[in-house]
């Protein structure tokens, strides 16, 4: 289950790839939408940990334009519901993620991202 909450916490960790290595770019994705329990308290608490720009851009790439470009100050119910959907209900089941810097490709299969590196790529 690569949900956008996980995607927002993953960065390229290949040897010498330290800048512009986030967010990883999705490619050839198969999505599944699965309902999750709505929990506004969790979302409010988790917001400071989110890289907002990366989240919004990634959501747009996956076809969801419901989030504002800037993190709003007023967190109304509609906004939190949209955030809930983007973070927790969109699952990337198949496809890959590419590092914007070194172009390393991390495949996703059966909902699990393969973040392993070959021996010579480990920093």
């Amino acid at each position: 289950m690569v949900r956008l909450i996980t995607h927002n916490l993953l960065a390229c960790h290949a040897k010498d790839c330290n800048t512009n290595n986030f967010p990883l770019q999705f490619k050839d994705v198969q999505l599944e939408i699965r309902e999750a329990d709505f929990n506004p308290e969790f979302l409010k608490g988790f917001m400071p940990k989110i890289e907002w720009k990366a989240l919004v851009e990634t959501a747009i790439q996956l076809g969801d334009t419901s989030l504002p470009l800037e993190q709003p100050e007023m967190l109304d119910e509609e906004f939190l519901k949209n955030l809930h959907h983007v973070l927790l209900e969109i699952h990337v089941e198949e496809g890959s993620m590419t590092c914007p810097n070194c172009k390393h490709v991390y495949p996703i299969s059966n909902g699990i991202p393969n973040m392993l590196l070959a021996e010579h790529e480990i920093g």
Binding site: R3, N39, I112
Partner: protein, 265 residues
């Protein structure tokens, strides 16, 4: 081949179906006081899965007992990110999901459960175990498995952000070469082969712990007495300015669960 490898080890991570005497111990654990937090349901995993993934055994259950003993203080942490390294069957993360899960007292907060394992079979078992375990009032423990080594894929985004880190490492002393091959082959051997002092993989991860732990965070590590627990604690204090103690240490057990956190907490 795997069993002969196990047999060559002076101490090994025991596997229940190879060790009839463990069934008795397992029975004791499973029939624990009903007020205790139940052991996660693993009935969906088969012997085929356990050919490639470490089957929960005595060390796993000791780990659960240690977490259960700390359940009150874990709940009071209001943890938002929990990371298990080398999640194997997913038993431990599912268990802590029950402890940290949303409750009225917790203001309905819950944590994100991230797991890594170098073994792709293990990642799949972890995912299935999360789906299998239903706890009210949450429908299930939403586990996010990543096929990766230690915390490396999360290292740059989770600087001082993880509230609970869990690690039951490959701690069994083995020839260095065996540990190296086990880590490269990314199969079940990686769950126990730990090099000459059983610390080959653990030592690498200990370097990363301080950078990951949040201010209130804590790190639980399973160790064997042979791994020299006082030395682990001394290194964490001298090099990383973290303090810790053996949180569950029963005289007849071969294992120790170590709990490490910031000094000024």
């Amino acid at each position: 081949m795997i069993r002969s490898q196990q047999a060559s080890c002076p101490v090994f991570k025991p596997r229940i179906r190879d060790q009839p005497w463990l069934n008795e111990r397992l029975h004791q654990i499973l029939s624990r006081n009903p007020a205790m937090i139940p052991t996660p349901d693993l009935s969906h995993l088969t012997t085929k899965d356990y050919d490639h993934v470490y089957e929960p055994a005595e060390d796993t259950f000791l780990f659960l007992d240690a977490l259960e003993e700390d359940a009150e203080s874990l709940k009071n942490m209001h943890a938002s990110i929990c990371l298990e390294v080398g999640s194997g069957s997913g038993c431990v993360t599912s268990f802590i999901g029950k402890i940290l899960g949303p409750s009225k007292r917790n203001n309905w907060l819950f944590a994100v459960y991230l797991c890594t394992d170098i073994n792709p079979h293990a990642c799949n078992c972890t995912r299935l175990t999360g789906l299998q375990n239903t706890y009210l009032p949450i429908k299930k423990v939403d586990i996010n498995p990543v096929n990766g080594s230690l915390a490396t894929p999360f290292q740059s985004r989770l600087v001082h952000s993880v509230d609970v880190i869990l690690f039951n490492p490959p701690y069994v002393p083995t020839p260095e070469e065996e540990a190296l091959i086990a880590q490269t082959s990314k199969d079940i051997g990686g769950a126990w082969a730990g090099g000459w002092d059983g610390m080959r993989v653990t030592n690498i991860f200990l370097q990363a712990v301080e950078g990951l732990l949040s201010e209130k965070g804590r790190f639980y590590l399973v160790a064997l007495k042979e791994n020299n627990v006082p030395q682990i604690l001394k290194t964490m204090k001298d090099v990383h300015n973290l303090t810790g103690k053996a949180s569950l240490h029963r005289p007849f057990d071969t294992f120790v669960v170590v709990n490490i956190h910031e000094i000024n907490r």
